[in-house]
Symmetry: C2
Subunit: 243 residues, 2 copies
């Protein structure tokens, strides 16, 4: 049956696995629900002009020296000397409007770095899920959902989101067949969707964030369509996709 | 709550990710449900003395030249000039009794190769699930479920089995907390357990095997406890674990 489908959605659970899944013709959706890709969506929703995702702290520090705003997070903590961490709340307000912001995070910006050569890289989070899925189904292309995970390990929140995207894309279009990763995640999402916080209760990174007092961030990052913009990579910049 | 648990079960979805999950103190369960680890369990159940898992076809051919029985499979097909492929049916009967067999397969023997330095490597399949889980919970150690996948990609059948092992170990013992991979798989297994074949209906490797007329293999490989032995790696050999 799946042979009739024109395009494929697959999921890759770690940036370290990306070379195995790489396919220069696919659109790659980079996912880091807690919290980098949520923060990126928020920044553009509040009018940021560009984000420069970088893998290393030193690169972000260099941009900061040059006068850019810069965000840097490692192990869920904002680094000293930077303007922002990776909490979405750091990027809410007029202070980001029209600005270019350099950003490095433990997982999300590493995943962007891994996928840099893809046909197109877009940023996914629950905050932009509907506009993103509507856009994805119109592109007539294979889609690879790249979960940032935690230090290259599988994580529960990014895979839950990948399952949500899979489910939503199937509702919007008949054109997609699913790779094994997406098949598994679709099952998972269908089971977890009505109580995502309960589903994530033992997720290791949620526990980590809860210990750090970041429950407000967790709840916000699970809010569908709170920042309905599509960040897309153009050269070294993330910019807001124009309609 | 999970802090109270003594040991951890985690799942690694690809041999390529094994270095990220590696932990010299864990017991590694190598999983290749369709079909290498099922075939290995069958061989020992029928009295094979040793299996020499090798990564390369040339190595298996070398053993064959030296007079050993040898199995070799690539892309689900038995290679010319070898005694066996990786169908469990190839290893049923008196012809394996007391023999040492060299074996190379697309995925399973690659996963064994990746995990060779682990504290202990055992072989898991539905065919030995109960004895394996009973043994695992008695070892008082972390357990890593290493899914062989398909050419380093996530696959549905190995992850389903890893979910089954997770669920069964939790039923047998309160000592284990779960990594994110196992948390996801436990949900999956609970949902799929009553109709595993239906769950796997769109799995890519099941489709591949079905096209090759191997439905009988698929059904057999999903039969719990049909070959209740625990193969364990000792040096370069897999041997049957003695009680």
């Amino acid at each position: 049956m799946s042979e009739e489908k024109k395009y494929k959605i697959d999921a890759c659970f770690s940036p370290h696995l990306y070379p195995i899944y790489e396919d220069k013709e696919s659109i790659v959706v980079v996912i880091d629900v807690f919290r980098a890709t949520s923060a990126i969506c928020v920044a553009f929703h509040y009018g940021a002009d560009k984000i420069i995702p970088v893998a290393k702290v030193e690169e972000a520090a260099e941009y900061k020296k040059q006068g850019f705003l810069a965000g840097a997070e490692r192990d869920a903590i904002k680094l000293e000397g930077f303007d922002f961490g990776n909490s979405p709340y750091d990027y809410m307000g007029d202070h980001v409007k029209g600005k270019t912001i350099a950003l490095t995070t433990t997982n999300g910006t590493q995943a962007i770095e891994a996928a840099r050569q893809a046909y197109k890289v877009v940023i996914g989070s629950f905050l932009n899920i509907d506009v993103l899925c509507q856009w994805l189904v119109k592109q007539n292309r294979n889609v690879l959902l790249l979960c940032s995970g935690w230090k290259n390990k599988f994580n529960l929140e990014d895979s839950l989101y990948a399952g949500a995207v899979t489910q939503k894309m199937l509702e919007l279009s008949d054109d997609f067949k699913l790779g094994d990763g997406c098949l598994a995640l679709k099952y998972l999402f269908v089971q977890a969707q009505h109580e995502p916080i309960k589903y994530l209760v033992h997720a290791s990174h949620k526990e980590r964030l809860s210990r750090l007092g970041l429950k407000k961030d967790i709840k916000f990052c699970l809010t569908p369509n709170a920042a309905p913009v599509i960040p897309v990579l153009e050269g070294k910049y993330l910019v807001k996709l124009q309609d």
